[in-house]
């Protein structure tokens, strides 16, 4: 059997940690090979080694049977390796075309970039692989899905034969995920080979041919996907059984906590993003907002939390009007918020994890008194939270930046939950996390519900919505178009509703 890429016994160390310890990965031409492992297991590191961003301490890399050294991404490109990074490597103010050709620009004889030629080439590529993009649009104006297609085009433009995808679906909507799966299949059909990193077992089962599992930097083994199942993969990865079915009792909703009436919100361009939205949320229930990205979810959350001004309508919390109050007021009246973008909103990355734990409460007793911080109290509290929420960090004095995504998320959840808010908003709380961490977070949300809090869950992942919610509100075009019970619907129906095909109220059928 001929391998296009062989990474043999790779070892990569970082100060204080062995990220890759004797890992072997063999990729055949024309296959989709999944790479599975918990957060921090060493997947990205391994791929960065292959892409020439890191140099391994030990091990060999063979390409098409020939041993190679890959000192930098240029060499990787020349060897036909392309990588779609977990965090997109796109220059925001540049156009799609500029991003794709960057570093390999076609020139006219006068030394000018030959944009026409470039655009033509991109059009050809995008037609051939079904990667729809607008070559003249700026990156900052296009959707995440299109950004990802740009990343793929970048690798194809450079003639990549092997494509590495690092958690490509973490940022995509279900529709976009389906499209991506299609794209991957067509890439393979065209003779490309793919390494896919993902935490979603379903996706692996769906498209991958093989799956290599790593745990804490060590290779556990490779399985033929056809010969295995999700449960086996999960337990190989975590080293224990994983409970996929979320355990929960039926909800016992009580008084109304959140009531939104006829809400309108406009974005910067003065376009209505929320158009007369109505929503009720009661204590002791989890309402999941299902919807495709861009249908007003972000605006809804920002309006409730005071980060954006509403145009009209009212938002009542425990029957008190909190419309357009400042974020501090709103938090104090009982709202907790796990933000979608944890780096931008959730944490001050340059603060220590200890300092981050009091981001919402630093001005209150006992963390400060008369404007003077009580560091002892803050650190005592932070230590406590870290143990309670299993945040894995060297110490509370470690900068938040140095923590892995899952641990950052746990810290935020701990901070928000511990304030016992009447309303807890969780936006994409499990994005990019491994199954173990997801399980933990789902449990926490349900615990909160059982303590009598109202939980608003926004997620693009239908599975998560279906598993965790007591009630599902489908959002489309700035409105709630359906209100359903999870046990009375299925993913098909939700998908249709999310695409705006019909409306439905709970209990109608």
């Amino acid at each position: 059997m001929e391998y296009i890429i062989e990474m043999l016994n790779i070892r990569k160390e970082f100060p204080g940690i062995v990220a890759n310890d004797n890992i072997t990965l063999q990729l055949q031409k024309g296959e989709i090979h999944a790479l599975l492992g918990e957060n921090g297991a060493g997947k990205s590191t391994l791929m960065n080694v292959l892409f020439g961003l890191y140099q391994p301490e030990k091990g060999k890399i063979r390409i098409r049977g020939k041993e190679v050294k890959i000192p930098d991404p240029n060499v990787a490109n020349d060897l036909g390796i392309g990588m779609v990074h977990q965090h997109f490597m796109l220059v925001e103010p540049f156009t799609v075309t500029q991003n794709i050709i960057l570093g390999k620009e076609p020139k006219t004889i006068t030394g000018r970039i030959d944009l026409k030629k470039a655009e033509k080439e991109i059009r050809e590529l995008s037609d051939r692989y079904g990667l729809k993009v607008d070559p003249t649009a700026k990156i900052r104006d296009i959707s995440v899905g299109m950004q990802q297609r740009v990343e793929i085009l970048k690798t194809l433009y450079r003639g990549a034969e092997v494509l590495i995808f690092d958690e490509p679906t973490a940022v995509l909507t279900p529709q976009e995920i389906n499209e991506l799966m299609e794209i991957m299949r067509s890439l393979v059909k065209e003779g490309k080979s793919i390494i896919l990193i993902t935490h979603k077992l379903k996706e692996i089962m769906q498209v991958a041919d093989k799956c290599t599992i790593i745990r804490r930097g060590k290779g556990i083994g490779t399985r033929n996907v056809a010969d295995t199942n999700a449960n086996e993969l999960a337990s190989l990865m975590v080293g224990r059984e994983i409970n996929f079915k979320v355990d929960k009792h039926p909800a016992t909703p009580k008084e109304t906590v959140l009531e939104i009436k006829d809400l309108y919100v406009r974005d910067k361009r003065k376009i209505d993003m929320i158009k007369g939205l109505e929503l009720n949320l009661r204590a002791g229930e989890i309402v999941g907002i299902a919807g495709i990205d861009g249908n007003g979810q972000t605006e809804l959350i920002e309006a409730i939390t005071g980060l954006t001004k509403t145009h009209s309508g009212t938002i009542l919390l425990n029957n008190k009007d909190i419309t357009n109050k400042n974020p501090r007021k709103i938090t104090e009246s009982g709202v907790g918020h796990i933000p979608q973008d944890r780096h931008k909103f959730g944490l001050v990355l340059d603060y220590t994890i200890g300092e981050n734990m009091v981001l919402q409460t630093y001005y209150k007793k006992p963390y400060s008194k008369a404007g003077i911080l009580n560091l002892k109290e803050i650190y005592r509290y932070a230590k406590n939270m870290i143990t309670q929420f299993d945040v894995r960090t060297p110490s509370i004095h470690t900068k938040a930046r140095a923590l892995s995504g899952g641990n950052q998320q746990k810290a935020i959840i701990g901070r928000e939950v511990d304030r016992s808010p009447d309303l807890l908003i969780a936006a994409q709380p499990t994005r990019g996390l491994d199954v173990g961490a997801i399980e933990f977070i789902h449990q926490k949300l349900i615990e909160e519900r059982d303590k009598g809090r109202a939980v608003l869950l926004v997620s693009f992942e239908l599975e998560e919505i279906m598993d965790v919610s007591d009630r599902i509100a489908v959002m489309f075009d700035g409105r709630i178009v359906a209100d359903l019970k999870p046990e009375e619907t299925n993913e098909q129906e939700l998908g249709l509703l999310m695409a705006g095909s019909s409306t439905k109220k709970a209990g109608e059928n």
Binding site: L53, P73, M89, L90, V91, E92, F94, E105, K107, I113
Partner: protein
């Protein structure tokens, strides 16, 4: 009105030229992600070299002296700026700190060497400075001619030309695309096979060259000699022009010209009837106040290149 324009435009042109060169240098450096507070120092170096070279070789080179002087100053400015590049690109120094050091170093070294070589704190006046001239034919056009083409310095037009060239390079060529990408998202550039360090070195060296050029043009069109007070704040004004111009070569050009106009307007005003009654102090601070008002009024928010000021360390994000 035309009278006023005819007297302020030529002065604005020579006043602005050194600022334009230097600001363009700032644009290159900051577009690549290296903050350059050291523009002032680069100008000092340029002025120093321009004057010293001119004084030394005036006899040998005759009419070519000023031209060769500014070329040499450009060259020395480029070399001098390597210090900033090494510190801020290779040594990952805080770029603001390194720039401040450049300012101290240039002035200290310039005056120190002047004292060593000339035995006094300031040089003689050069005998071969730049002279203004009338541009044939164009200067005969009514109204426009006297405004733009009579008694102008070739260096002023070179400055404007450089701004256009800088725009072309930054926005139309592969080199420019790469340079800007390095200032926005160095890691993206790196994964695309662009050598981030090399690009930043080149950009800083270009800024050194242009800063040196700006300083020497100032010295050879305006000051005529070198002392500790030859360059006092022009570099900072150039830095302001970089930001005012939103890190765009043509914006920087516009900002520098705006500043030159405001400056010469404040001088000319005393001879304009309806402004003559304005107390001098208001005319004196007018250029600075106008700049602030322009920014607050209609220029507004400017977004720096995203990675500006952040040392790039391979393998981190």
């Amino acid at each position: 009105m035309i009278d006023v324009l005819q007297s302020i435009i030529p002065t604005a042109l020579f006043f602005s030229a050194p600022l334009i060169f230097t600001a363009l240098g700032g644009v290159f450096s900051e577009r690549s992600g290296v903050v350059n507070i050291g523009l002032e120092g680069l100008m000092v170096m340029g002025a120093f070299v321009g004057i010293v070279f001119n004084l030394t070789f005036a006899d040998a080179l005759g009419g070519w002296t000023p031209w060769i002087s500014i070329i040499v100053a450009t060259f020395v400015g480029a070399i001098f700026s390597i210090i900033h590049a090494v510190a801020s690109v290779s040594f990952r120094a805080d770029q603001v700190v390194s720039g401040v050091a450049i300012n101290f170093l240039a002035l200290g070294l310039g005056v120190y060497l002047t004292k060593q070589w000339y035995g006094k704190g300031q040089t003689e006046m050069v005998s071969q400075p730049f002279f203004s001239n009338d541009i044939p034919f164009l200067s005969d056009i009514p109204i426009i001619g006297p405004m733009f083409f009579k008694g102008v310095y070739t260096t002023s037009y070179i400055a404007i030309l450089f701004a256009v060239i800088a725009w072309y390079i930054l926005y139309k060529t592969p080199f420019g695309l790469r340079l800007r990408s390095v200032g926005e998202h160095p890691m993206a550039a790196d994964t695309n096979g662009i050598n981030v360090y090399k690009m930043r070195y080149i950009a800083v060296i270009i800024s050194g060259a242009l800063g040196g050029l700006g300083g020497s043009v100032f010295a050879l069109t305006i000051a005529s000699n070198f002392s500790h007070s030859t360059i006092v704040g022009q570099g900072f004004i150039s830095l302001a022009a970089v930001i005012f111009g939103k890190w765009h070569p043509l914006g920087a050009l516009g900002a520098a010209l705006f500043f030159g106009l405001a400056q010469s307007l404040s001088v000319v005003s005393s001879s304009v009837p309806f402004l003559a009654s304005v107390p001098d102090i208001f005319l004196l601070i007018a250029p600075y106040v106008l700049t602030i008002l322009a920014l607050a009024g209609f220029i507004g928010r400017a977004d720096a290149p995203k990675a500006n000021g952040v040392p790039y360390i391979k393998g981190t994000r």
